[in-house]
Symmetry: C2
Subunit: 118 residues, 2 copies
DNA sequence: TTGACAGGCAACCTTATGATTGCCTAATCG
DNA sequence: CGATTAGGCAATCATAAGGTTGCCTGTCAA
């Protein structure tokens, strides 16, 4: 799999990216440092990030150094920025156009609680 | 849960956002139109998007209209754009600073393929 | 008022996904 | 050399996530 969105979905992976943003080119064990996770877990996360093309790796002796790849992030970001600008306009226009429809009547607002609420 | 990253991780949800980008304020059934998914599935996806604050809903009679909320997207985007700009520099500097370590020696470059490549 | 329509709730199922453990290979250093 | 260190691979496990089905509530229009 290689979906950058999916790769970004996990907090641990975002944290790993954060660490690489702080210091690029770190090895696996260094990236593990201080994390409450096994080395294998981190390794898998890095593999997913690599598959999503968010990081690149280079072997250096027995170490594997990890480097950020800004390109796909930039792609995502540009795509959603475009959307964002568009929708900001749309949302604005839409809100203005609509006569708020402020609740046709206000009688049966209360609904039985779904038993799983708190 | 309300993690916008996780909300964006699913292709179906991104598609729903696309549809709302194309036409804001659509109802549930309208959003279902043409999708190979049950109404309940779509409903769940919309709930996740709403929990992540990526869309807002307004009841209008028996319909529920869905509106994009650009703010959290913008937040994400800004955060990662900042990172992106930073890392572009870092990556550049890093590449230049390193005397590429071009393979300490060039013998064992070929590695057995991991069976899952392609 | 009755039936069609929009939507919600809950139970259930299947498969991803995140994580662990145990063992193996390959560099590095004393 | 032998011990240590960096990392990989495979099996295994528990839970989350996406999806479905069945049934219920509320709104609208003829």
């Amino acid at each position: 799999m290689s979906d950058p969105f999916r790769a970004l979905a996990d907090e641990s992976r975002r944290l790993l990216l954060d660490r690489l943003f702080a210091e690029n080119g770190q090895s696996l064990v260094k990236l593990c440092d201080g994390l409450a996770m096994s080395r294998q877990a981190v390794s898998k996360h890095l593999a997913i990030l690599e598959a999503a093309n968010l990081i690149a790796v280079r072997k250096s002796g027995r170490e594997k150094r990890h480097y950020l790849n800004p390109v796909p992030l930039a792609k995502i970001v540009r795509r959603w920025i475009g959307k964002f600008e568009d929708v900001r306009l749309v949302a604005l226009l839409d809100t203005e156009a609509k006569p708020p429809i402020k609740r046709p009547s206000a009688p049966s607002r209360r609904r039985r609680l779904p038993a799983s609420v708190r």
